[in-house]
């Protein structure tokens, strides 16, 4: 038996997706914190940081995956909060959640492009 097919199994799929995105984020959060400490303690200037990130596809990949996982994870959580506090009809709820997801991805992509391109 494979569970999770069909529109009525959306909650189960979102549950799994939120756990998977959390697993993806866990090492990325540690890497990000480590990098911040290194940059701050080492006294790197903005231009020195940009010199390391610009044109570097590995940093683009690192933060690209991070932004995507964070957007998925946060949207699913916010969808539940909206559902429980405002109780909108399902279609509106999913549309708002999708809009939130697009906004988070766009904001994240803008930030990545600013340091990588």
């Amino acid at each position: 038996m494979v569970l999770g097919r069909g529109a009525e199994m959306l909650d189960l799929r979102l549950y799994l997706l939120q756990r998977l995105s959390a697993m993806v984020m866990a090492p990325l959060v540690l890497g990000h914190i480590g990098m911040m400490i290194y940059a701050a303690q080492g006294g790197l200037t903005a231009s020195e940081i940009l010199a390391r990130t610009q044109g570097n596809q590995w940093w683009a990949l690192f933060y690209g995956v991070f932004v995507l996982a964070a957007a998925i994870h946060a949207t699913i959580g916010l969808r539940v909060v909206l559902h429980e506090y405002l109780k909108p009809p399902p279609r509106l709820l999913n549309s708002v959640a999708l809009a939130l997801f697009v906004c988070l991805v766009a904001l994240g992509a803008r930030a990545i492009m600013a340091v990588v391109l």
């Binding site: 999770g4 199994m9 909650d11 189960l12 549950y15 799994l16």
Partner: protein, 241 residues
């Protein structure tokens, strides 16, 4: 110990109501149910409340006592109140019928909805299934099986309050006992039922149910088991049926 208890009891019906205050003589080893019974017999003959067995078996006397749901027949006044003041109200998350009596229909409907009916795979003519006491599935079921349907966990659950579709800790705890019963033949349908909106994935693991359950069960752990089981089934990993 004070000589008199100051007891506020909710009086009202589906349209609302308010608290009435009663002075109840304090006694040694007095339960909340004793207090409510005293009020009905001596002060307020019209007071509606439910009880049956008075020994923590039947699960019919649960009420909100000083803000927390409790089985009133086994809750001593001393445990619920330090200063001799009691506030007694009908269970939360259920519609009030009258005074301390609430309508538990939805609570029990959700039991059925969660697939709580045992579906036999054999008949009485088959030999009895041999299930050893130390089998892992049997031990999982054992940990969850002593539920008395009192509704305390349901009344204490903030997720039920926020999400009226949520099946609630008691119904899902029951589903978990059947998921672990290898004589039952409705395993995959049950997992599918509790994976829909309002099912086990709606639980936020607040653990109020585990903290409040008078029989010291841990419905949160049962629901976590269901989450694992449904997740494995969705990923196509190791399901028996």
């Amino acid at each position: 110990m004070t000589d008199t208890l100051q007891v506020d009891i909710w009086r009202g019906d589906t349209n609302g109501g308010s608290y009435s205050r009663y002075a109840v003589p304090a006694q040694e080893s007095q339960t909340i149910l004793d207090v409510v019974t005293w009020v009905q017999r001596h002060a307020e003959p019209g007071l509606a409340y439910r009880f049956a067995c008075r020994v923590g078996m039947c699960g019919s006397c649960a009420m909100m006592v000083n803000g927390a749901p409790r089985w009133t027949c086994r809750t001593h006044v001393r445990k619920a109140s330090k200063d001799g003041k009691l506030t007694i109200a009908p269970l939360r998350n259920m519609p009030v019928v009258k005074d301390l009596v609430c309508d538990m229909a939805e609570f029990f409907d959700k039991w059925i909805k969660a697939g709580s009916v045992f579906t036999p795979t054999e008949t009485r003519n088959d030999p009895m299934a041999a299930i050893k006491p130390d089998e892992p599935d049997r031990m999982n079921a054992n940990a969850a099986i002593e539920c008395i349907n009192c509704g305390v966990c349901y009344a204490g659950c903030d997720t039920v309050e926020a999400n009226p579709d949520y099946l609630g800790p008691a119904a899902l705890n029951r589903a978990w006992t059947l998921v672990n019963d290898r004589r039952d033949g409705a395993g995959s349908e049950r997992l599918s039922t509790i994976s829909k909106a309002g099912g086990c994935h709606s639980c936020h693991t607040h653990q109020s149910c585990a903290a409040l359950c008078p029989n010291l069960l841990n419905p949160t752990a049962s629901i976590a088991g269901l989450k694992r089981k449904t997740a494995k089934a969705a990923l196509g990993l190791g399901t028996r049926r």
